[in-house]
Point group: C2
Chain length 600, copies 2
């Protein structure tokens, strides 16, 4: 199977050597699984990704969905791919057996989705949103809602959406205005306008279940007055058959720079008598319900960013190996043949940077996925609590770091291709356009930075933060004892010390009450923190690779040596970024904050 | 005139306060000019840019040129805008009066082009290439070639192209294969294939003059065997009328991520009997002739990158001022109204970063343009030589720094817009796609890095490099004496010292003969050097702004204060990058160089 989605050695290394996914099979939930069943699921996902998803990725970019006669029309390949996804059972890979799922560990389930995203992020979007919406119903809905809506969604007969954003409010969800009036029969009538609703309308499934944030008549202002409603495109009868069309109208499509395969819509709820909706969970607790699902959704975004970076890297690597151009420095004879691009130092640097970003980002996402399982199933409550805390802390990094640096990897993949990379005749420019969404949706960098510095670092009186530092220091201590890793450990130790110093300086300002000043550079703090954590994960990858070399591990020796080299690269080329950021963070610089509007 | 191309205060500040463009009016060539004539030319260019170029910038992106019945078809707005450009005399603004030009100083002439690029880089491309090709003929062609081809090009009746790249050779020009056989009548017959030929075919002008690199039959291999030929699309009779169609065929169009308005073509020369071409300059000296024009061409690329960043910044600023979203930190009452985006620290930071990049980049390009004039017209040979040397040294920075950081500014402009920025309903995503070309064409970052570190820094035994250091140190010394600038001067001094240390360390390795090792991180050296030079230019901007405040200069005080703030920003947020890069450069790190192919 020809695929440029992932390096299979790296997939095996990360899941089974680094993150030891087999360990979670001790949990009762995964008792039926073995290394073999996990690998079978991954093989299947990779096969579907390579054979059903990747081939039409360019096509849905070139011929994006259109709005014709009130309907969304799109290429038929999308439906065919999603049909295969449903038929193979991959649609609900992480769900309970009882719900038609494969009950896979979180890391493997996320990875199955990640492979599809790397192959064709546009087509995967329809399935991804459906699962996200179904998960909301499963977590907060009534038994009847689960039966009537979530089951057909997991089976792929209904698709789903998340309807949060409104035109005037954007990320400020507390300002949303969609109103829900009780109809007297237990249902509600919704009126409001939503924007940027991915997969908001299409003909891919028999029905679409919208999960809509709105306000009840007695709702308090702000985020404390938001409730969650389930609003189907077609009403569903008691026997599961479809009834009338609900009062949800497609107002138009939004045309994006990339990610074009997933149609983005404006939806009007209640243009006539009000869209019929059903309350999910408690009144006024809608935002909490939504955020309850956020950790996993944000891991999904981070992993999507990684996989777009990853496929770009593999394309660039293949191109650089095949393409002959120029001569080595010092070769003066123009009669000698041209050499492959990989012979040039700058090309190697750009490839190694991509490798460090995408494999580092993958590590980070899988660390998060591992914590998802630990927090639910670990042996003790203390272990569960620690995992939950670490996951909370890491989530903004998992969402944002790959969105920033794997996008940069996509830019480098273009650069390796030279002029060809800038053309639509090669795929790397599309990965770059597609990936540019990831720093925006599911909370921008700015929002992730505020979440990390304004909430997570301080959460539980800084306990999660300290737990993470402890884990990082443990790795540093171990690595210091290994001569070939000691230098990198010293570099990570320096970065960590600078990050801690910056955190402490910021906390002094925060404690003084100057919150705005303390948080002014939260986005840069996010970046420095992310680089430190990925530096830690690279050191761990190097530890495991060294073990692999020493003990003749399952991957080729050159692969393990590449891991050591990438760890060197990250420590030497990337960790200095932490210093330069930590310096100004420790000064709690307010140059930007103090800029007045008239000075721009 | 509503325009979001440039801040007029900044344009006046940079040209007349910072770079003192009036000083060059002392040169005989500019004797007829005054501040008023320069401003009139700039006003005209800005008017044409805003009224004729900007309005169809999105249109030529959405409906890019197509290949129909052997012809290139495009939107009629392109021809209309170029007609206006010709009629206003702006086409040849920098050329001699005698050639129909305005004989403007280089900085003003470049700026006129820059304004057009900021408005619509795709449409400007046709004019830009024509002038570049005409300049080649003026510099190296025969009188007859100038009369028959260059004059109609400057008048906008013929357009031009630069045909360098071939599919198998890319940047490795020494490997190009196009052959030119003498026809016995003084002309040549060319056969070969060229790729990425911008504006290679169209119906915008009566004729297209291709400037083609090829090889004579007796040519030595490599770059020393390349000659330059003039190959018209239609032969030109002695009376200037058009004759037969030449044997140049459009093989196809290339579809790009951005910059779509300028069609990119594959051209086949000599599919039949050979394309009739004329030697320009000496045999085998074609590459030198081409490179002779490179400084100005590269300033043009750098300035184009700046102007795309600049228009993105102004769009983001307007959006952030208008768009209300969220509340200040600490405002807990959701019943208060939402505030403009500019109220948020992270938005201000992103706007200030854009300002620092685009205004810093503009400064850099205009520094280069000033040197272009000095090198030609300065009072003494020594001054001319120093200007020429500095220009050679700065050229790779002028080409690459804006291509990297003003592209980053475009990414931040998207981020300020949030989800809207990612849609094609707003213009910022197009600027980002358009600007992504600039790190590639006219020599990639990798090539610029090798040019800087491998050639320019060492040129004339390091004399140009030392001359630049001297100028930077002079500014630092002056600023150290001014209390409000001293801290920034100290920071620049530190960055400069680290750059010098890195340069010295690299030179030790180079002198030892390990050239490949010495140059392994040339691209990162380029980045560190560029940041240092832009830091210097920001300190100079701050000096001038301070004078403006003290003496009640021509710009509003808030504008000058913004310059001081942006200088603070650059010194505090950006110069630390130099440290982190200089560290690994000083170590002459070879992690990437040593990576073997099997380890990826």
């Amino acid at each position: 199977m020809q695929q440029r989605i992932i390096n299979p050695h790296d997939l095996a290394f990360q899941l089974f050597e680094l993150h030891r996914t087999e360990d979670v099979l001790q949990y009762d939930r995964y008792a039926d699984h073995s290394r073999e069943t996990l690998e079978a699921a991954l093989d299947l996902a990779l096969k579907v990704a390579a054979e059903e998803f990747a081939p039409h990725a360019r096509l849905v970019d070139e011929e994006e969905p259109t709005f014709e006669n009130g309907r969304v029309e799109m290429r038929p390949e999308v439906k065919r791919a999603l049909d295969v996804l449903r038929e193979t059972g991959l649609m609900a890979a992480g769900q309970d057996y009882e719900l038609g799922g494969m009950q896979l560990p979180a890391a493997v389930a996320q990875m199955c989705v990640g492979l599809l995203k790397g192959a064709n992020v546009g087509t995967q979007g329809y399935a991804g949103l459906t699962i996200a919406a179904a998960n909301l119903i499963l977590a907060h809905g009534s038994e009847e809602q689960k039966e009537r809506y979530a089951r057909p969604m997991l089976a792929g007969r209904f698709f789903g959406t998340m309807c949060l954003t409104e035109p005037h409010a954007g990320s400020s969800l507390g300002d949303l205005k969609t109103r829900a009036e009780p109809a007297g029969d237990g249902s509600y009538r919704l009126k409001g306008n939503k924007i940027f609703i991915s997969a908001g309308d299409h003909e891919l499934s028999k029905n679409i279940v919208h999960m809509v944030l709105g306000r009840l008549p007695d709702a308090p202002a702000g985020v404390k007055g938001i409730s969650l409603f389930l609003v189907p495109k077609f009403l569903v009868n008691d026997d599961g058959s479809l009834g009338e069309r609900n009062d949800v109208a497609l107002a138009g499509l939004i045309h994006k720079m990339g990610y074009r395969g997933t149609t983005s819509t404006m939806l009007n709820f209640g243009e006539k008598d009000g869209a019929i909706g059903y309350l999910v969970g408690e009144p006024h607790k809608g935002l909490a319900a939504m955020f309850h699902m956020m950790n996993e959704a944000r891991i999904g975004v981070g992993l999507g960013a990684v996989m777009l970076g990853y496929t770009g890297y593999l394309h660039a690597l293949d191109y650089a190996r095949d393409r002959k151009q120029g001569r080595p420095i010092g070769e003066k004879d123009p009669n000698t043949g041209q050499v492959p691009l990989t012979r040039h130092a700058d090309i190697r640097r750009m490839l190694l940077t991509q490798k460090a970003y995408v494999e580092g980002g993958l590590s980070l996402c899988l660390e998060g996925a591992r914590l998802v399982d630990e927090k639910k199933f670990a042996d003790s409550d203390a272990a569960k609590a620690e995992a939950a805390g670490l996951l909370d802390l890491l989530t903004p990094l998992i969402k944002s770091w790959p969105s920033q640096f794997c996008l940069e990897a996509n830019s480098l993949a273009i650069q390796v291709h030279g002029g060809y990379g800038y053309t639509r005749e090669y795929p790397v420019e599309q990965f770059y356009r597609d990936n540019r969404l990831n720093p925006i949706h599911e909370g921008t960098h700015g929002i992730q930075g505020m979440d990390l510095l304004g909430r997570k670092v301080m959460q539980a009186d800084g306990q999660h933060y300290r737990a993470l530092l402890k884990r990082i220091r443990r790795t540093i201590d171990e690595a210091l004892a290994v001569p070939s890793l000691a230098d990198n450990a010293v570099r990570l130790d320096r970065a960590l010390a600078q990050l801690v110093q910056a955190t402490d300086a910021i906390n002094v300002v925060r404690v003084s009450g100057a919150t705005e000043r303390a948080l002014a550079n939260a986005s840069l703090y996010l970046e420095a923190f992310g680089h430190t954590v990925v530096g830690w994960l690279w050191l761990r990858q190097a530890q495991v690779a060294l073990t692999g070399i020493d003990n003749g591990g399952p991957q080729p020796e050159a692969f393990y040596r590449g891991k050591l080299r990438a760890c060197d690269y990250f420590a030497r080329y990337e960790l200095p970024r932490v210093s330069s950021l930590a310096g100004l963070l420790a000064e709690v610089d307010t140059t930007a904050l103090d800029m007045t509007e008239s000075e721009f």
